[in-house]
Amino acid sequence: MTELAQGKDFLKMSRQQEGPRETYSWIGKSMKRVEDPRLLTGQGRYIDDIQLPNMAHAAVLRSPHAHARIKSIDTAKAKALPGVILVMTGAEAAQVTGPTATFSSPPCIQYCLAVDKVRNVGEGVVAVVAESRYLAEDAIDLIDVDYEVLPAVVDPVEAITSSGDAVLHPERGDTNVALTNHSVFGPIEEDFQNADHIIRRKLRWSRVGGTPMETVGAIADYDSGTGKFTIYCNTSMYNYVGWLIAVSLNIPAHKLNIIPTIAGGSFGSKLFIHKLPTLTGTLSRACGRPVKFMEDRLDNLTNCDHHACDRIYDAELAVKDGRMTGLRFKVIDDYGAYFQFGVGHHGNAMSQAVGPYKISSIEMDLIAVLTNKCQQGAYRGFGSEVMNFLLERMADAAIDELGDDPVEFRRRNFIPPEEFPYVIPTGNLYDSGDYAAVLDEAARLLDYQGWRKKQAAAREEGRYVGIGIATCHERSVFSATEFWFLNPKDQPGFTLTSSPEGVAVKIDPTGKALVTLQAPFWGNSPETIATQVLAEQLTMDPADISINYSDTDSGLNGTGPGGSRYTVMIAGALAGASAKIKEKLLKVGGHMLEASPSDLELVDGRVCLKDVPEHGKTIAEVALHAHYFRLSMPDDPELTSGVDATYVYDHPLTTMPNEDRTDLGVFYPIMGHMCHMVVVEVDPETGKLAFLDYVAVHDCGTMVNPMTLQGHIRGGTASGIGTALYEHFFYDENGQLLNASFADYLIPGLHEVPDDLRTGHVETPSPFTEYGIKGGGEGGRMGAPPAIAGAVEDALRPLGVKVDELPISSKRLRALIREAQNS
């Protein structure tokens, strides 16, 4: 009851200006994307499409060893190769450029090229700049490095007890344990004491990555006359933390201008790319020419700092009277060779640690380890997708052991709609939800009962057909506290609390709008979303709106896409900027119409009298007046020429964690939800599986563009299928990445995903965001793995096979079946 009261109290903190409406002009419409024409005609201008005059090309020598000391490097032959401009070792680079940015505390030092020691296969050792990439790679072939091989730490469990030469970062102590955290939220002991069933499961979530079709690249142009760096890059958070690259380059932040390019996909992997801009900046300064470095696919797969969660869970779930009450787990997370985001991924997962369920207590025992692998970055879910897998696997295990019904068990455990806003044990708030409505819609779309009958008939024929269900969350609109609140309390690091999104809007003298975004396109639809929201706000024709991106010189605060935040945040920023624009238009219009602004309104692109709509001026007429006829208006110091506004929208609702971290505060309250229902058939002899049906119903609050949201659901589900069935960055016992190519790292092709993935929507608006929008960029990937795992287990129920480890490759599945058949 106290929880309920607390939750409702948060409503008073809502900064929502625009509530959900019955009808909209542009929001909610499946408007064709404004980004597309240039992309469809090959005019996208990605990073590799940019050529600067006199530009040289870099290539990087990669470490063949997982862990080794660099004893000596002979670059003489490389330097002598005609066409080679510069050969720079890691040690040479470190003389002029400091470590790259890290959010871990204590820091884990990483340079843009390895200094003294390499810590993963693929880590950069020497950079070559030459007249062409071909020549640079020729020079790479001519470099001799003498390594002293050190023990390779590959197994995350063994990493816990590493010492001596096996320690990756001795400066952090004689251990490969990067961080531990023990957290208890709610009455965990009581819940376990009172339980009538305790469900135990060990789970393994394997290492995968976003692997967008475009790799990361940067072009740096150092101007020795002004000391200024201009760096083009397909990074994302340049207006948030891009200045940290200047810190690495040992220059003041204003001596670095980062110009963003659109990104050919990211899925988190380009969230904050700092190594490449730092490296190219270093090279450009050293050779006095613009330098481009594009990762090739090997660079990208082995060393892009983008591998994702790699976790081992040992979990227990308390159940009483068919209701889940407490969840406790030990988790070991293999972070790889460095620790750029600390354990932000686990902080993130604490936002929805109980999923949609009324679980009253959580206990986490986290050990983050360092191993000789590519370090973790961000990937679609940022740790919460693994939490979903844990929760849904535990729920399925409980259903299995209790002999319960998978739909009714979930429904019984849901937080009911009347209890929102709802505070979960970790302290985070769920803004709104109607989980049963989502479940019912999925069951209807799938024809769940019909499939159960078909499943029974198939089983009669000896076929292995299974139905999997996942009802899980997609927290959206990240805030910054998740990055540090699990850090040691006496050493929390840089405890930032802002995650804003800015926008600049200008109405030109002809009445057209120019919107400047502070974060790049990375495959989402920022231009379309901004166009729809601004058109709604200013009652304009979307064709009269164009979108631009700021660089850091001109940029406002902007955190960019990530954590399914951008649509909500840009809508908030645009609502703020539009309020200022509207005020100006009404003020100027008032002078033109000789009326008080309070008697005017903006309707269909015109400023007009509320009572006499035919008496008015178009936005173009008002804008022309505002730009060029200052003296026709009174001498009001507030009334400056032109029509423009900037607005920086801060996170709609966050609070601080408490001192002892028993309450993490509100940090991810905009809570989306989904139900995935999938039907598979397993071929028991080969371990291959086929999708017979797939339904995904999502609740992302008010939808801005149902078409692009459906695109995210379908595409996200495809990447979730990759995680569930195909993908795995696999390192052997020597730390060699055995599948570092697109032939062997299996991103799903067309035939690996369902031909018809049917989607549905439920709209439960948020009381905290403009129009009630919630995020929706990650959801598909956050729901597919548990749904598929459940379906496989259901299909093989006659054999008693349990799916505890991903990916469920034909090899793994066949091994499980073989084991079951032999026992």
């Binding site: 990605y46 590799d48 996909g265 695109g711 996200g716 697109f742």
Partner: protein, 166 residues
């Protein structure tokens, strides 16, 4: 037999998007790099450089080819078409229209290669089945869309093109 000049470069003459070019190329220059760097046709993207992803697909004498697996020198006398040969922003090819209409792209990076695979299919088979469409574009990886909208876009374009030709 092709003969190299003193700098090891070999003269080639080819047509790209209907325009005749004469260039000298180093034998090892990949067609993808030749198009992007020597001819400034940057619509052809490079995804993996080992022939798996299809991002760099171009039409070589009417058939798709991975431009990262062909040396420019091999294209002496060839006719090439790249994404730049399809429609323009003001006058899109029906496939481009359909991709736009059906949301067949997100980040757009695989899109040129994907479109050219679809062009090849529809030029050979104006009325493909859904399965034929799936087979034709399964040459190309897309990490954004989950493919379904792309299949539907090609279906939609084929229908429109057939209607237009009747």
């Amino acid at each position: 037999m092709a003969t190299a000049s003193s700098n090891g470069r070999i003269p080639i003459a080819l047509k790209v998007n209907g325009v005749a070019y004469e260039r000298e190329v180093e034998p090892r220059k990949l067609l993808s790099d030749f198009l992007r760097e020597d001819l400034a046709l940057t619509g052809t993207h490079v995804g993996c450089e080992h022939g798996v992803c299809g991002t760099c697909n171009v039409l070589l004498n009417g058939e798709t080819a991975r431009s990262c697996l062909i040396f420019a020198v091999q294209c002496d006398g060839a006719e090439l078409r790249t994404i730049e040969s399809l429609g323009t922003i003001d006058k899109m090819h029906p496939l481009q229209e359909a991709f736009w209409e059906k949301h067949g792209l997100q980040c757009g990076f695989c899109t040129p290669g994907m479109l050219l695979s679809a062009v090849e299919l529809l030029e050979k088979n104006a009325d493909p089945s859904r399965e034929e469409i799936r087979e034709a574009i399964s040459s190309n990886f897309c990490r954004c869309t989950g493919y379904q909208n792309i299949v539907e876009a090609v279906e939609f374009a084929a229908k429109r093109m057939q209607e237009a030709s009747q």
